[in-house]
Symmetry: C2
Subunit: 125 residues, 2 copies
């Protein structure tokens, strides 16, 4: 019964923690902040295809989980900056590795997909 610490177990908090990472945009935001502080609009530009709704929501989630720090400057027009917390930077190391893996192995994945789809599974017109 000593299976407490296990990401595969729903009863283990690490499982829900892992879910937060698995979100579609979470990793990309952490990845985008790898070089330092960015403003909201800069994040919006850096992460292609993200809507403001999702960007805001993702940032709130990451802030809530202690991974991202938000600093608001009370000026007009508004100025808001985001950066990783120490906890966020510890995760960032793994996220960057994940990004590197994706960049390094994307061609293998693509060719695997091509093979798989070419084995008689394509839909002829």
């Amino acid at each position: 019964m000593t299976m407490a610490l296990n990401v595969l177990s729903r009863s283990c908090p690490s499982n829900s923690v892992l879910e937060l990472i698995a979100g579609k945009w979470n990793m990309l935001v952490v990845y985008a902040l790898r070089d330092g502080t960015l403003r909201y609009s800069q994040l919006h530009t850096a992460i292609e295809g993200i809507s403001q709704k999702m960007l805001t929501q993702t940032l709130r989630d990451l802030e809530r989980d202690g991974l991202v720090a938000r600093r608001v400057y009370p000026v007009v027009p508004p100025h808001t900056e985001y950066c990783l917390t120490p906890l966020g930077r510890s995760l960032q190391e793994v996220v960057v590795q994940m990004g590197c893996w994706a960049e390094q192995h994307m061609m293998e994945v693509l060719s695997a997909r091509a093979d798989y789809d070419g084995q008689g599974r394509t839909m002829p017109g």
Copy 2:
């Protein structure tokens, strides 16, 4: 304009590759296969809370992407085994690190959530 290789760019294949990792169950399946070969039912048991539909679908996706190998023994009752391919094992290293991060830092995340929710955001009845 030399920003080709970038997981943040939708036009870069690595971006879609990263998406496949971000799926809710993909990482857990790769993680579950870290120790070697498992049968369908063993995976179903190991990964708490996954439905057979999602397990099958996730395995198909990972097989299609060249991360998981499927071996079917033509016996009755059926016997099917799954294991990581070399490509899958290269990803597995990063996934295991992600799992370790989740296990090591889950308490920090939990306490951050408690702090955030305690700052006047809870909904009193």
